[in-house]
Symmetry: C2
Subunit: 505 residues, 2 copies
Amino acid sequence: MLNRVRSAVAHLVSSGGAPPPRPKSPDLPNSTSAPPAGPPQAPRSPPARAGSGSAAPARTVEARASFCRPTFLQLSPGGLRRADDHAGRAVQSPPDTGRRLPWSTGYAEVINSGKSRHNEDQACCEVVYVEGRRSVSGAPREPSRGQGLCFYYWGLFDGHAGGRAAEMASRLLHRHIREQLKDLVEILQDPSPPPLCLPSTPGAPGSSDSSHLVGPQSCWSSQKEVTHESLVVGAIENAFQFMDEQMARERRGHQVEGGCCALVVVYLLGKVYVANAGDSRAIIVRNGEIIPMSREFTPETERQRLQMLGFLKPELLGGEFTHLEFPRRVQPKELGQRMLYRDQNMTGWAYKKIELEDLRFPLVCGEGKKARMMATIGVTRGLGDHNLRVCSSTLPIKPFLSSFPEVRVYDLTQYEHCPDDVLVLGTDGLWDVTSDCEVAATVDRVLSAYEPNDPSRYTALAQALVLGARGTPRDRGWRLPNNKLGSGDDISVFVIPLGGPGSYS
Amino acid sequence: MLNRVRSAVAHLVSSGGAPPPRPKSPDLPNSTSAPPAGPPQAPRSPPARAGSGSAAPARTVEARASFCRPTFLQLSPGGLRRADDHAGRAVQSPPDTGRRLPWSTGYAEVINSGKSRHNEDQACCEVVYVEGRRSVSGAPREPSRGQGLCFYYWGLFDGHAGGRAAEMASRLLHRHIREQLKDLVEILQDPSPPPLCLPSTPGAPGSSDSSHLVGPQSCWSSQKEVTHESLVVGAIENAFQFMDEQMARERRGHQVEGGCCALVVVYLLGKVYVANAGDSRAIIVRNGEIIPMSREFTPETERQRLQMLGFLKPELLGGEFTHLEFPRRVQPKELGQRMLYRDQNMTGWAYKKIELEDLRFPLVCGEGKKARMMATIGVTRGLGDHNLRVCSSTLPIKPFLSSFPEVRVYDLTQYEHCPDDVLVLGTDGLWDVTSDCEVAATVDRVLSAYEPNDPSRYTALAQALVLGARGTPRDRGWRLPNNKLGSGDDISVFVIPLGGPGSYS
């Protein structure tokens, strides 16, 4: 992510400000001792040797920390050097030989044009097996259940102020999701509605029959029905939270400086869950139609949430910022004049008399890619950033940065997909210079040039999208065919076929 | 509004809790001395004698306070009694003789079936003239300007816990809008972008040239462009706020108990602004297509805003409520067990171990029309309610109730409207039993039975919509043709033609 944190590296300080740590989940590794994420039992379709470095021995972590790429790229030392070359900007994809990514997923990436030392994007593609904990309801486990669940997982992580948060998230976030799903394995495989209440100890006598627990003394006339789908959404939401808390705990020992945007896809039991925290984007292109599967979280789109937090907790602004928005910086000579403003409740603008505290820097300022929160950061959701402070200040940014994703759900069973229907994930390097419609046109152009059952077509499409956003070197810059500047940012793209030969397997 | 406040009348207390009052706008009347709202200069199209009682002399206010209907209904004493008859539930509309409402607007209403003593809905339809203050930019006023502006105004106010807040809002909210627009008269008539900064004193030397004020020392590379449209939105938003503050100031002397939802439409300079705070609804039916122009604000739709406020300001929960949501009430015997919950960041559900504080009543509970905030109220935005407390408690509800509307804008000039294109406003009495599609079907059925240039067709349509929601007395209740119960609530409907003979005039 380019320029997202204004000189953030220079302003990192190591002092505190993190939330009190939760007890770590027992099965989760810390950031340096991550064992392979592979399934303890083979999934129905064996995964490619995927996972960003998850199979690497622990002692190589320190070396990798300076520069690593997803292991599914299978880069040789020479390939790693080429991937790190800001001048050549060679597009990287998994080799055409050997095992493909699950569902014949296409992937391509390219490093930035020199704005940060390494590629700060990371990616992960895994098939994850979830073994259930022992019967959560206390009832004897039926033989047909307890088989565990498999989910397919794709993640893009766009780092800023260093690549370590993105690297850590790419290695661990799916494990946090697995951890959150462990309690749900049995419930998700039971077609009846999830129990509202579970006994305290798995296996202990207790009732998971929710209807039993609603006594006549209940002051509510009804109870809310909770769907299986919303349990998966809740599991993913909490996994992001736990990942962020792990980063807070481990930031000192392992120098998890910086932060990252996270865009992940989970396919489980017929449904695709797209979780986004940051400014990456996911769209489905189905029969030429575009279905947005995420929205971006920036100081502009989250203005009202940020202003509300600043208004309700003014101590977070440290006397340095005002929660009000102005169309430009207020100047001291304008005291007493009337300027346009918006507060946290407003979408329109009105005039107010300028007072002394309006001279403070606004919490949210700027527009488009130049929008900033606290004059520092251009995204408002993501993982990490626990050490990030306002420039020349000890004021922490983190309370305003949310680690919670927005999760959208797409039911794959509701539509008969053809091999040209794809889910495209891209970091902002793609979307800064490519519209949804242009992506859909490239999908059509590239896929129609390949046989529908050719599994390499999705990698070709990912490469075409990355190349189209990068451009070619010309006139002292990377330029698109229309001569506009291409993206100088890191660019990473997954193309997930929704009706391809390998999907659902 | 039926049942929206659970026994709220019984729990009204007169103690404080209001925000510190702002200085009252000098031109605004208080609630008992309202002079007629009519334009000081005749608008281009003379308004019908509209405004809910705005022309009544001050001494009749006390008498009216117990029961009044919009003056544009021109009800005789006998008509007023019939309008107040819960048994007959006669549909009321403006008489077919005399001046019509602006744009030939249709209107109809019916009282509830006995759940509250009087009809707690109120309505207002006005043409409002806004005289500009002296040249706000300090520049000499050009002869072509300074003519003032006219806006067309429609408002529906659905009261709860008494009708006085609705009545007060119906008499005064458009005056607050006028007050907010006074400073903008000249700016809105100037095609150049609004100045970002104005001199402190109108007429004083000063620069309204915003480009001049952005010195090279500005740390922002650009300034935000603010549209004329967003100034009108801001004016309406602040008018709601001022109206609410006036209710807070005057609640004791004039017994402005209770509160109301407010749905208003402003037509100004080619655009329709629909502002909604509550659970009334507005839709446009255009060429048979439905365009939603509002959304409802209820404990369900605003769950996350309410939970965030309770989480950030736990003192507002008074130790009686938890900001967490549970699918049903947690019982003491379930301590230590795990129950589904959602916090302010989540849209999905997860299990958590029940702790002592989870036994508190949840801030948000119930579903659909039974959803309640603090076990008390079923809407989360509106005007008034400054005295409303939680049942058997002194805990104020108001901090959670927002007086800010959501404003949607519809550009009338972007489409050539035909006489069958209408904007329909209804209180929840209509929408509880009528879907958007059913309204669209009624629009088609009724309007096609009239000549396109017959101005009475919109009143006939409003009546048909009210009758269709009320039903007919049968089997000990008001029943719809499908034998389901009709709405027992107050029902009020405006039908505003977008391309009718009188519109835009």
